[in-house]
């Protein structure tokens, strides 16, 4: 059985709101797949449908080819962290994992293992209600790992984590993927997934906008633009425009040039006697690439809001 999540054509309506509108993507083993989109794009709904909590109006969500409800030991195939706050506050953290373990036929030994894996051993006997949000995220991850599943799914796991926790989480997610697991991580902040995700499923308004590797996404967003750092900004702009480039001012001493290769830019600047400090290929951040992708859907939302306000 291939360890994958396959989502095809999911539709779900909550009252008047079309939460999912043909959501389709797959999650492959051995990589961290980022599941990104603005709030309300349908990420959490999709995840709930994948693990059988919500029923889709249409479409399918399969785990290794099977619907979730037909899995006999679901937690040993998919571990999910949907809501770190879903705890009985008066129950000790260790006991929260213990009943979950018992429901899968696992014992207290496994609970100890996963608590040590997420670094909660020293606070295992504290009541879950006394945990900080960051600790709850770790506890949730421990729960997701109980059955040692080949697929992990986490909804906004960076929420409430301190910088140290975020670094830990990134490393942890990468190590899980390196073991060959399929890891799906949702976030509404693309920056959180920088240096973490290998692949991205970008969603907006209930469907997939882009389904691509991080490398090619950045590539596409970067285009063939070149950045030139120079104190003689006006002079440089004249020379480069003359050579046929399109020039934009990015900063006081920084120009972004498109339409010319780096070699020809350097040649034009030298020929024109313009002094410059640096010429380098422009590399877009993940954030920029994301903004570019979701601009349409955000604009649509803003437009809709305006129309609704006007009517």
């Amino acid at each position: 059985m291939e360890a994958t999540i396959e989502v095809a054509g999911l539709r779900k309506r909550f009252g008047a709101a079309q939460a999912l509108d043909g959501m389709t993507f797959s999650v492959l083993p051995g990589q961290v797949t980022g599941f990104v989109g603005p709030n309300g794009a349908g990420k959490s709904t999709t995840m709930r449908i994948i693990i059988g909590l919500d029923a889709a109006d249409d479409g399918t969500a399969l785990i290794g080819g099977q619907p979730y409800h037909s899995l006999r030991r679901p937690l040993s195939q998919v571990g999910a962290l949907l809501d770190a706050g879903a705890l009985q506050p008066s129950r000790r953290a260790r006991n929260h994992l213990l009943w979950l373990a018992h429901s899968q036929g696992l014992g207290a030994d496994r609970v100890r293992e996963v608590m040590s894996l997420v670094g909660l051993t020293s606070v295992a006997k504290r009541k879950a209600g006394g945990y900080s949000l960051g600790m709850r995220q770790r506890l949730g991850i421990a729960g997701a790992l109980l059955g040692d599943p080949a697929i992990l799914m986490m909804d906004e796991p960076f929420n409430g984590m301190d910088p140290e926790g975020i670094v830990w989480m990134r490393t942890f997610l990468r190590s899980l993927a390196a073991q060959g697991r399929a890891v799906l991580v949702s976030s509404h902040l693309m920056g959180e997934l920088q240096d973490t995700a290998d692949h991205l499923v970008v969603v907006g308004r209930g469907k997939v906008i882009a389904d691509t590797s991080v490398a090619s996404l950045i590539q596409a967003a970067s285009g063939d633009r070149v950045e030139v750092r120079t104190a003689a900004r006006t002079q440089a702009m004249t020379v480069l425009a003359h050579a046929g480039a399109t020039v934009a001012v990015t900063d006081a001493d920084l120009l972004t040039v498109s339409g010319l290769s780096s070699e020809r830019i350097v040649a034009a600047l030298i020929d024109g006697g313009v002094r410059f400090a640096e010429v380098r290929a422009h590399r877009a951040t993940l954030e920029e690439a994301y903004m570019e992708l979701t601009r349409d859907s955000v604009e649509f939302l803003a437009e809709t809001a305006r129309q609704e306000a006007a009517s």
Partner: protein, 529 residues
């Protein structure tokens, strides 16, 4: 692109099955300290409330039977109950015209009238009572009795004032024969025959055409028994709302054509069992030619708790079990929280992700909350009964006798009542998803109907229906005392009598729980978590 080896776990998973879900739900339950404490509170509350009645009881300082409180100091003394062959307390008080019957044989007689004076009759101690007169269950006829001792085995064929011809035996047995009232124009022939331990009763309207009414076995009947005529007329009881007044009545029957096979001796008239608080303790008979006129009082019947005999002052077992409703309130809170707190915290999503077959999750929860409530109910009832009996004894009072098997049924039944109630409340919680609403529903369907009925706030009749159709019908399983059709008494919830038989009432509760559980499973499967 590199080839990726998908992750393979080497973790050994445990057994698959329903048992692990029950295990998980049990772990959930026992790891919330508040719920464990609430169950202990349920036990303590039901015991404590149950002990209020025996601890404050001073009824043994009153003389029963209408005599009023004694003028002197209180001298509590446990009365000696007359117990029937089945071990139940009985009234065995009547006027008996008898002679020995050796071996097998039969007795036949014709009854031509059964009448009673209205107004005042006198008891043996000279006190007079204002009596409403003849009672529906005033009775006279032929009887074969083990001996003259009160409480001994018997079988009798009789006419009654309102209930036609009956065959009755050993106090609790009662079968109908010919209907209609007896009178000179409408005589009744009665016959009893003995063959070994078997006694068969017949009746006839004309002395020619006989019908068998019943055949009963009185085990251990001696070779020689007492056979003859009897008349008894039970105490009247008039309800004045909360209280009731009572007193003896008297009746006279006329017999002729008496035929006792193998009779050699002469007839002896004797009042059996005077001073039991039932009947006047006096009677007479006249024999003129072939005609016998027998005047008697009292009753041959089981004592119903709270009615007649020394039982008036006895502590009733249902007073000791009354705390069950308090225990039920605590259990209702736990049963509701057991499911609704998962909705409140969204923990239900974790639960259902771990066990996607949702009906089984609810089943496991029902088993856990049911088992825990059963144990709490059994402990609460057993401790309340043990301590309640002890306190009653230590204060010089006495318990109304209850057969051991009945006590066992009450203790187990209290556990079952709480268990099924908890499952019902859990199911309501799964449907409603809100803790406060669930607890409110539980109190409305269980506690309010019960409380209004046992405190006699609801009118008689209405409380009957409330305790028949609502889930509170399940309290019938705590009914300690059977109602007897052949004993006229005020059978109300306030006196510990439920309108339904114990297991029938429990079945009503079970039906409610089954409907609620089915509804909960349906909604749990259908709704998004």
């Amino acid at each position: 692109m590199t080839t990726i080896t998908p992750y393979r776990s080497d973790l050994r998973s445990g057994r698959d099955g329903f048992a692990r879900l029950v295990h998980a739900e049990w772990t959930k339950f026992r790891t919330v300290r508040g719920w464990i404490i609430a169950m202990i509170v349920a036990i303590l509350a039901s015991v404590a409330l149950g002990l209020l009645a025996p601890a404050s009881d001073s009824s043994s300082c009153q003389v029963s039977g209408g005599g009023g409180p004694p003028s002197g100091g209180c001298q509590p003394a446990a009365p000696s109950y007359i117990l029937g062959p089945g071990g139940e307390p009985v009234t065995d008080s009547f006027y008996f015209v008898h002679q020995p019957l050796a071996g097998d044989g039969s007795i036949t007689v014709r009854v031509t009238s059964l009448t009673g004076p209205a107004g005042v009759v006198n008891s043996s101690d000279g006190n007079s009572f204002g009596s409403p007169g003849i009672q529906p269950w005033t009775k006279a006829g032929v009887i074969i009795k083990q001996n003259q001792n009160p409480g001994s085995a018997y079988a009798a064929m009789m006419v009654t004032h309102d209930h036609g011809v009956r065959m009755q035996w050993n106090y609790t047995g009662d079968t109908a024969g010919l209907s209609g009232a007896v009178g000179p124009a409408n005589p009744r022939w009665l016959r009893l025959t003995r063959a070994g331990d078997m006694i068969t009763g017949y009746d006839s309207a004309d002395g020619t055409h006989w019908t068998q009414v019943g055949a009963v076995t009185l085990s251990g009947l001696p070779a020689t028994v007492q056979a003859g005529l009897f008349t008894a007329s039970p105490n009247y009881e008039v309800s004045h709302g909360v209280s009731a007044s009572t007193g003896p009545t008297q009746a006279t029957a006329t017999f002729d054509r008496l035929d006792l096979s193998g009779a050699r001796g002469s007839w002896t008239g004797q009042y059996i069992g005077a001073g039991q608080g039932s009947g006047t303790g006096t009677g007479t008979y006249h024999q003129a030619g072939g005609q016998f006129t027998v005047t008697g009082s009292g009753d041959i019947a089981p004592i119903t708790a709270g009615h007649g005999g020394p039982a008036d002052g006895a502590q009733l077992i249902n007073n000791i079990l009354i705390g069950t409703f308090a225990g039920l309130i605590a259990i209702a809170v736990v049963a509701a929280m057991f499911i609704t707190s998962e909705y409140r915290r969204k923990l239900i999503r974790t639960t259902l992700a771990a066990s996607p077959r949702r009906g089984r999750v609810l089943g496991a929860k029902a088993i856990v909350i049911g088992a825990v409530s059963f144990v709490a109910g059994v402990i609460g009832a057993a401790v309340a009964l043990a301590l309640g009996t002890k306190i009653t004894d230590s204060r010089g009072n006495y318990m109304f006798p209850t057969p051991l098997m009945t006590e066992v049924r009450l203790v187990i039944g209290t556990g079952l009542l709480l268990a099924v109630a908890a499952v019902l409340i859990l199911s309501v919680g799964a449907m409603v998803r809100r803790g406060a609403a669930t607890i409110a529903i539980a109190i409305v369907v269980f506690v309010v109907p019960y409380f209004l009925s046992v405190t006699a706030v609801l009118p008689v009749g209405v409380d009957d229906w409330v305790l028949r159709v609502t889930p509170a019908a399940g309290y019938a399983i705590q009914g300690a005392y059977p109602e007897y059709a052949q004993v006229a008494a005020i059978y109300s919830a306030a006196n510990g009598y439920y309108p339904l038989e114990p297991w029938a009432g429990f079945a009503v509760l079970c039906a409610w729980a089954a409907i609620a559980l089915a509804g909960a499973v349906y909604l749990l499967r259908r709704r998004d978590a």
